[in-house]
Symmetry: C2
């Protein structure tokens, strides 16, 4: 019940045990094609270029940025938590001219502030996180996409922590590249990074395509500034997933099976229903921690559905309490990074863990641990508040 | 039965279905530690820095090169097949000053030739493939390590296609970094890249360590030229796997389970025994294709144990025959890259496919397909030669 990685859906674990076939076997290429189509559903896009990067969510971020950003390109990164710093850091390593704006941890940006910064910096790319798990905040994006389109800026969004549990509209919001990971609301293991790329962004990236010696033919004359990574070179990865099937890496077949099953389960459920499910169980957890008497961190109006941060009560040993939750009750909760390390706990309700029993057991156990630590809590207040939340007529309907 | 990826050992597939735990759960960190120890056995090394890169084998190569090579550093790449070109290409993307020497595909280098090139180029790093699947050749490395030590050159080896099926001695041969993948002789799925790093190489890499903002503390002042990749920054990855457990990516837990099971099976078998097994079944396949009347490509004295390339007989439609092998008999064999594309077939006997029944069924099916295509083959000659090879007293002993 931490902020992710979470325990995967058993159906996803089972999918990984399927036998492997060769990478250009028609059955395999069909599995790749169906994975692309399923992730178009997950990302709510018609983008042809929708596939997987073989690495963790961070590999997806780096693939997007290293493929878009040439050395010296200006990029604007609005930072509202640790993962904004990560985008900044990766963009710096790409040799980009990186500009940042910041709000305090626990807040999000107004679209106006981002628009003003875009006009000031004139970046090629705006790179922003949707949900920063470090702070639990979810940045509204619809208006920002509009601004980027108007200003001719490419919009990259890191949706790792949010996708599947919070509304996400690649096309409607005008997002050029979005990346994610399986280990949050998608309900799978870390190790595969779904990505979607707009035709406009694909064109920019393909302008930098260099095909490897050894498999290159005459039509592959080099153009543009070569992408600094081979492994994360989206121009080559697009040719591998596309009809040309040009050899690049060897697709991570078992992780593809996992990623495909994650998407299949979500698309079957319906992406909107999956968001409602995360709202429901995240709402119950929020009510529950408040019912215990804990103070919630950050701007609750902009909290992600799938994780809540609470201030560790004064006098409580935060790490000791987490250890007791894990060792005595078998439940993991997290602390956070940087300025929030040791100050808050983060409790997730995402993917397979967005379940009523998981919420209630966590609240029951947390009550025991807090009481044992001497905290001033409301006995029974956590589960009672969560049950009351579930009993609300609207929420009853959702769970039915 | 292609040159890899191959169908994984069922025990490895099963291992991936195990439940996940959080990345800093003591059970998980113990799983990481035991994986490190098992891969010390696989690489035959005492290197503390022995772990996994979360990506395919190519991610391991890029992690090694991007972490070692600063822009402008000289690197020497002896090229004897496609994967030498890949090392060249990745090193170029690192901004290195890349020098190559080449031998024709189907041959390997004499140590003297490499020594002469080292004295000429004076590189910081010698980057070389052990087994180039494109040509099936296995480069002898023991003397090259000796030369590198004497000349003060760091030795990087890509052992993706060879490790587990051909002798490999990290420490005894003086190799500074070696990387691999699971999808060849290790018997697992693509998607995890084992790596081992000597103390000397680790020191070079740690000289370039930059810890991310957001998790950095005062002791982490930046030094050296920052590594151009964040995801593949070995300095950070070492801190994640090491006692500091500094957050970096989120370890790909299911792939770690797979990688650990691959290593456990090999270490249980004994690395020397695993090589003998690959020699046995690779030898039987070699005898078998010759028994059918096919001509073997390249310098057989330097062939990897685990793959053989044969010239496609004149008049045979190579792709059609491969399609028939796959569609009619359920057996994949490969062609090759670049100058060998459509000229040879490559047949593997590696990992879980290094088995007597797999060899014999493949030879039996290949005979049918060749006959149907009108090739002049020796009916029954393939399986007879393989069975004769297996019946040899010494080989009987090995299989017993």
């Amino acid at each position: 019940m931490g902020p992710g990685p979470i325990n995967a859906d058993p159906r996803v674990l089972r999918a990984m045990a399927a036998p492997l076939v060769g990478q250009f076997d028609p059955w395999m290429t069909e599995a790749m094609n169906s994975t692309m189509e399923l992730y178009r559903g997950v990302f709510d896009t018609t983008n042809e270029q929708t596939f997987l990067i073989d690495g963790t969510s961070r590999a997806g971020i780096e693939a997007a940025l290293v493929s878009l950003l040439e050395p010296g390109d200006r990029v604007l990164v609005p930072v509202f938590g640790r993962f904004g710093h990560l985008l900044q850091e990766i963009a710096q390593r790409c040799g980009a001219d990186v500009h940042t704006i910041e709000v305090p941890w626990g807040e999000v940006f107004e679209a106006d502030a981002i628009e003003a910064a875009i006009r000031d910096v004139r970046p090629k790319v705006l790179a922003i996180v949707q949900g920063d798990t470090a702070t639990t905040m979810c940045q509204p994006l619809a208006d920002i996409g509009e601004v980027c389109r108007r200003e001719g800026v490419l919009l990259y969004v890191d949706a790792t922590a949010s996708l599947g549990g919070n509304e996400f509209r690649t096309d409607a919001w005008g997002i050029d590249i979005a990346t994610a990971g399986l280990q949050k609301c998608l309900g799978g293991p870390s190790g595969s990074a779904p990505i979607t790329i707009s035709p406009k962004a694909a064109e920019v990236i393909n302008g930098r395509k260099h095909v490897e010696a050894g498999i290159r033919d005459a039509a592959d004359a080099a153009v543009g500034a070569r992408i600094a990574s081979n492994y994360l070179d989206l121009a080559q990865v697009m040719d591998y997933w596309g009809p040309r099937r040009l050899n690049h890496h060897t697709e991570a077949t078992s992780m593809l099976y996992a990623a495909r099953e994650c998407a299949r389960l979500l698309v079957d459920e319906g992406m909107d229903n999956a968001v409602v499910r995360h709202e429901l169980h995240g709402g119950a957890m929020l009510a529950g921690v408040r019912g215990l008497g804990l103070e919630v961190f950050g701007d609750v109006a902009h909290k992600m559905t799938n994780v809540v941060a609470v201030h560790i009560p004064a006098g409580i040993d935060g790490d000791g309490a987490r250890a007791s939750m894990l060792h005595d009750y078998g439940i993991e909760i997290g602390t956070s990074f940087g300025p929030l390390h040791g100050k808050v706990w983060r409790i997730g309700t995402m993917g397979y863990n967005a379940r009523r029993d998981a919420v209630l057991v966590t609240l029951a156990a947390l009550e025991q641990v807090l009481r044992a630590g001497g905290a001033d809590i409301t006995g029974g207040g956590g589960t009672a508040a969560a049950l009351e939340f579930y009993a609300d007529e609207f929420h009853e309907e959702v769970t039915a």
